[in-house]
């Protein structure tokens, strides 16, 4: 009998439920907390064509993918998004456009409705214009409000995603009230996780434990008041958790990402891991990538685990946490996620929390996600900032 793990058999790999299509890394916003790779600028010239994306959608659907996220960068920067959406609709995906709202027009949203797009997830940043514009390094506050109204007008579920960090965590009550006022159906309060640009800006973005607890209490109170009218997800940041997250619900278990340039990944930041060659849809195709590629099989199951995870009674719950975070912070891709209080490297997390309290470090300028900074990082010119990590975040 095949070895069982997380409900999946190793001899017969699981099926990908989710496909995240990061169709472009180009973005008009420059968010300080963006999880995109810091060297994304090296992948903006070789985006997949419309035909290639359509083939990705067809092949992933055949593999079992059902939920589709169309993301980026800003997906609306592609001119062929309407074609991609229509293909997804005809294939029976439950499709979601994940957007900043920049580039969403009446004409396009009507086209999406015709094409069968199921929902639009809009990012919001704060109730204040100042903080919205500061953290995204753009002037987009008014535009987001207009887009929210348009989403409602076209009878889409209103799904708001608010990334939470030090600059807006104190406004969480007002943010929820704003969401209620504009008629949101789902609100995701996503506490920043530290990957990509947010890892570089960690000391500047991380709230204190007290701020976090207060925000969670306010959220719970709000939930009690609104009941089922609005679903509020509060994503707890793992730095303040005692146990790591079951990252991606397991490596190569349910989630598959195809990046702008066609790389097929089990998670957003997998390319930062050492010794792995990720498949590209231009080469052998998705079925091989998901079922056969060495990269997708590398951390499936738990054969790769070391102590203390290997004999931990909780190993099925979190599968040892996140491989990318563990490698970036500790240098060992097979170690225990340092977030875990049982990890021999847990001190790294405690130090990072302390560092964020140090006013001198926390007041350093934020490195915004933009092409110039990305190129500087890719060219090794910001090595001081990248130095604390074992790979480029």
């Amino acid at each position: 009998m095949a070895q069982q793990n997380n409900g999946a058999s190793l001899n017969h790999p699981p099926k990908p439920f989710w496909l995240l299509a990061e169709i472009t890394y180009r973005c008009p916003l420059h968010c300080a907390f963006c999880y995109n790779p810091t060297d994304y600028a090296t992948h903006t010239q070789n985006e997949l064509s419309t035909e290639q994306w359509i083939k990705v959608l067809r092949d992933a659907r055949k593999l079992g993918a059902l939920q589709l996220g169309i993301s980026g960068g800003e997906p609306l920067l592609r001119d062929d998004i309407e074609e991609i959406v229509a293909e997804a609709g005809s294939l029976g995906y439950y499709s979601n456009l994940i957007t900043s709202g920049v580039g969403l027009t009446e004409k396009r949203i009507a086209e999406f409705k015709r094409g069968g797009l199921d929902h639009i997830q809009l990012s919001m940043h704060d109730i204040t214009k100042d903080i919205n514009n500061f953290i995204t390094d753009t002037n987009t506050f008014e535009l987001k409000k207009k887009v929210a109204a348009m989403i409602k007008e076209y009878d889409y579920p209103m799904v708001l995603n608010v990334v939470i960090h030090r600059y807006n965590i104190e406004h969480i009550g007002e943010i929820l009230e704003m969401a209620e006022a504009i008629g949101a159906d789902f609100v995701e309060l996503a506490n920043t996780q530290y990957y990509g640009w947010s890892l570089l800006n960690r000391a500047q973005l991380m709230p204190t434990r007290e701020q976090l607890e207060k925000a969670e209490a306010i959220t719970n109170k709000f939930r009690e008041r609104v009941g089922n009218k609005m679903k509020v997800f509060f994503v707890v940041p793992d730095y303040y958790a005692d146990r790591p997250k079951k990252c991606m619900n397991g490596w190569g278990e349910v989630f598959m990402i195809v990046t702008a340039n066609g790389d097929v990944l089990p998670c957003h930041s997998a390319r930062s891991l050492p010794g792995l060659e990720f498949p590209n849809v231009r080469d052998k195709g998705l079925e091989w990538a998901w079922n056969e590629s060495p990269a997708f099989n590398k951390y499936r199951g738990d054969d790769w685990m070391k102590e203390p995870c290997r004999t931990c009674p909780e190993k099925e719950k979190d599968l040892g946490g996140c491989r990318c975070q563990t490698y970036l912070l500790t240098g060992d891709p097979e170690g225990t996620d340092p977030v875990c209080s049982k990890s021999p490297t847990h001190q790294i997390i405690l130090d990072a929390i302390e560092e964020a309290k140090n006013p001198q470090i926390a007041s350093r300028p934020i490195l915004f996600r933009n092409d110039k900074n990305s190129r500087l990082i890719a060219d090794g010119e910001l090595s001081e900032i990248v130095k604390p990590f074992h790979a480029l975040p």
Binding site: K15, F17, L63, G64, L66, Q67, G92, Y94, N96, D118, H119, Q121, P157, V159, D185, F186, E188, N228, F233
Partner: protein, 94 residues
Amino acid sequence: MSDKIRSDQVFGLAKHYRFQWEEAQGGYVLLFPEGMIKLNGGAGEVIKRVDGKKTVGEIVADCKAAFPDVPDLEADVLAMLELAVGKTWITLKE
């Protein structure tokens, strides 16, 4: 929503929810923003009949006709509907 389900009530899928057969999953699924529920065989058969038109009584009768050999089907169907209401997958039609 602690009220008992009555046989004359009519339920429909909650707004923005989608229900479909998935060949790859070998079963029915319920899709909604940020999530998906894979329904087991019995649950799928019940939710399939929740169409915003049939009354609860009609759904029970329909299930009994489709699965004549299953004992206590009515209780199972009502329990499934109650669960679905509690999870906000389905809502009462006015």
